[in-house]
């Protein structure tokens, strides 16, 4: 059977993809009616199960070396909708399940409903939204239809925005509103682009659309407009420089577990769709100029985000600006990975590794900042002297996460940046290498700003020491980012599954 025919028929492991989406949706709906106390139990019980499903999907993709496909209701595209999991989807599913579970177990003391107390609104909202966000992420990673992906993106926004303003303070409400407005404008542009594509090719299925665009004797001008509109909309949601203004207040003011999930996963959801658009839907239209523009915006993000991170007074704002810089690295993938040369494959692996290692490292750092803020009652960087002696495990985890952001070995961040650097050298595009190295140096600067005074021997009044278990979660995430640096060749092979089919 041809690759297209294979992509339009359910294959043996395909039902797992449905489970990966349905499980958190069922949990979310049950939580809504069961109340905050039970919502916590449901969410925490489903997280290991969801992780198991994601791992089985990843194993299936790796074993078959081919994407898993499920055709909903047996209605084949273009009329029906397909769910597909390639290597990139599979690793993102596993990462999302791990980070959501870590954030969930970390959040237990923050959003608990003790037996003697009445149910409150915040715990119910948090546990329901966390599951909704997880379901939407899985939909984004598995969706094979551009309109279905639009709905998934909107669900992701609707779950993420209220998480920003759970405490209801005016500044968090303001941050949430700004975030919502940016996200809504982004998705309208995405929808307009999808409409143009449907008008030109009569389908929104990614595989059929790619075939239609490849087979067309002359590419319809509407295709270029659609690509531009959809990319612009998705960039606003990914907070790529210069559309990043909404991110720092939203991510820095949210409760720590929400910040972790927003920074580690939610911005990756829309980035994932930019990758789908340019590498899967219209690989033939990925011109050097268009890809160069994305790379240039990414470079701007790396430099601008890092310099602003150096100037922040609050720890959570510093970490939020660092997210803007690290998102920039993801976009260096576009000028380097478009093509069928071996070094293009390396750049692809580098970009995916950056997405994974940043997810773990940033989740760990936001949770560490959350523990610091709980113990001290503030997160002013100037007043963190000596925190390393009061909370050594938390600071150690923060430092390990920082190691990955800087791109020092051994860490996932090092592997990611090393693969990107190799691709710049082999592809003769050395100017991106200068940006990667410069960004690493600046990241070293802003991590040092926190870690160096924290190690100073000065007495610090800590209100309450965090529990070992929660410190352990933070450390485990940092170690996961570190372990990615030891990824075996088989893992890098998994990232390539499904990519070969898209390169003409």
């Amino acid at each position: 059977m041809s690759a297209v025919a294979l992509a339009l028929a359910t294959n043996p492991g395909g039902y797992l993809l449905v489970l990966a989406i349905v499980l958190p949706v069922v949990g979310m709906l049950l939580s809504l009616v069961a109340g905050g106390r039970n919502a916590e139990r449901i969410a925490l019980a489903l997280m290991p199960a969801g992780l198991g499903i994601a791992l089985v999907i990843a194993f299936g993709v790796w074993r078959e070396q081919a994407p898993l496909v499920y055709i909903l209701g047996g209605w084949a595209p273009p009329l029906g909708i397909a769910l597909r999991a390639d290597g990139f989807s599979a690793v993102m599913l596993v990462t999302a399940a791990l980070v959501v579970a870590a954030a969930g177990y970390f959040a237990r003391p923050l959003f608990a409903t003790p037996p003697q107390r009445a149910e409150a609104r915040a715990p119910l909202a948090f546990w329901t939204l966390l599951q909704g966000l997880w379901a939407a992420l899985n939909m984004v990673f598995l969706g094979g239809d551009l309109f279905n992906l639009y709905v998934a993106l909107e669900l992701l926004t609707f779950a993420a925005v209220p998480l920003v303003c759970l405490d209801g303070r005016p500044e968090t409400l303001r941050a949430a509103l700004r975030y919502l407005l940016f996200a809504l404008i982004g998705s309208v542009f995405y929808l307009l682009g999808a409409a143009l594509l449907y008008g030109s090719y009569g389908t929104l299925d990614i595989v059929l659309l790619a075939e239609g665009i490849r087979a067309a004797p002359v590419v319809a001008p509407a295709t270029f407009a659609a690509g531009g509109l959809m990319t612009a909309g998705l960039l606003a949601k990914t907070a790529l420089f210069p559309l990043h203004l909404w991110l720092p207040p939203a991510h820095a003011n949210a409760p720590a577990p929400a910040s972790a999930v927003l920074s580690a996963l939610v911005v990756k959801g829309s980035f994932f769709l930019v990758v789908r658009l340019w590498f899967d839907v219209m690989p033939g239209l990925a011109s050097d100029a268009a890809m160069g523009l994305l790379g240039a915006l990414g470079s701007g993000a790396i430099l601008f985000g890092s310099v602003l991170a150096l100037r922040q007074r609050r720890l959570k704002l510093l970490i939020a600006y660092s997210t803007i810089a690290q998102v920039g690295y993801l976009f260096l993938m576009f000028p380097l990975a478009a093509g069928s040369e071996p070094w293009n494959g390396q750049a692809w692996n580098g970009g995916v590794m950056q997405a994974l290692s940043h997810a773990f490292a940033k989740a760990s750092m936001f949770l560490a900042a959350g523990l610091v803020a709980e113990s001290l009652g503030h997160d002013r960087i100037a007043d963190l002297r000596g925190i390393g002696h009061a909370m050594p495990m938390t600071l150690f985890a923060f430092g390990l996460g920082g190691l990955s952001l800087m791109g020092l070995p051994p860490s996932g961040g090092f592997t990611a940046k090393w693969l990107l650097l190799q691709a710049t050298v082999e592809g003769g595009q050395w100017f991106w290498a200068a940006i990667v190295l410069c960004g690493g140096l600046l990241a070293g600067g802003y991590v040092y700003r926190v870690v160096a005074p924290a190690l100073a021997a000065s007495p610090l009044d800590v209100r309450a020491s965090p529990s070992r278990g929660r410190e352990g979660i933070v450390l485990a995430l940092a170690i996961a980012a570190l372990l990615l640096g030891f990824a075996p060749p088989g893992f890098l092979g998994l990232l390539q599954v499904g990519r070969a089919a898209i390169v003409p």
């Binding site: 273009p78 009329l79 309109f147 639009y150 709905v151 909107e154 926004t157 609707f158 925005v161 209220p162 303003c165 209801g168 303070r169 005016p170 409400l173 303001r174 949430a176 509103l177 700004r178 919502l180 407005l181 809504l184 404008i185 309208v188 929808l191 307009l192 409409a195 143009l196 449907y198 008008g199 030109s200 090719y201 009569g202 389908t203 929104l204 509407a222």
Partner: protein
């Protein structure tokens, strides 16, 4: 001028008005209204473009209609969420500006 062209141009004009308003107007409620205007324009254009593309031979293509209805539901929920946030912001701070420099109530 055919009815389809007229509808398409109306959609384009709505999109233009919406984008202009989003860029120029500062009040969040006005921005929200502009988002709805922009959305309506996109929905109108979705229907028209679909008639000219994949469904050119059919009397009616059900897919874009299903998509537009879903889109309207999504835009409606988005508006409801934004209005709820705006109301809560007004209750807690007495003002709805997004600009941190003008946070004090008049």
């Amino acid at each position: 001028m055919t009815a389809a062209t007229l509808a398409g141009l109306t959609g384009a004009a709505l999109v233009g008005l919406g984008v202009y308003g989003l860029l120029v107007l500062a009040h969040p409620l006005r921005k929200l209204l502009c988002f709805n205007l922009l959305g309506s324009g996109v929905f109108l254009m979705f229907g028209i473009l679909a008639r000219k593309g994949g469904a050119a031979g059919f009397a009616a293509d059900p897919v874009p209609q299903a998509l537009v209805i879903t889109g309207i539901v999504v835009a409606f929920s988005a508006t409801a969420l934004a209005v709820a946030l705006l109301l809560r912001l007004f209750e807690t701070s007495g003002t709805v500006t997004l600009n941190p420099d003008e946070q004090r109530p008049e």
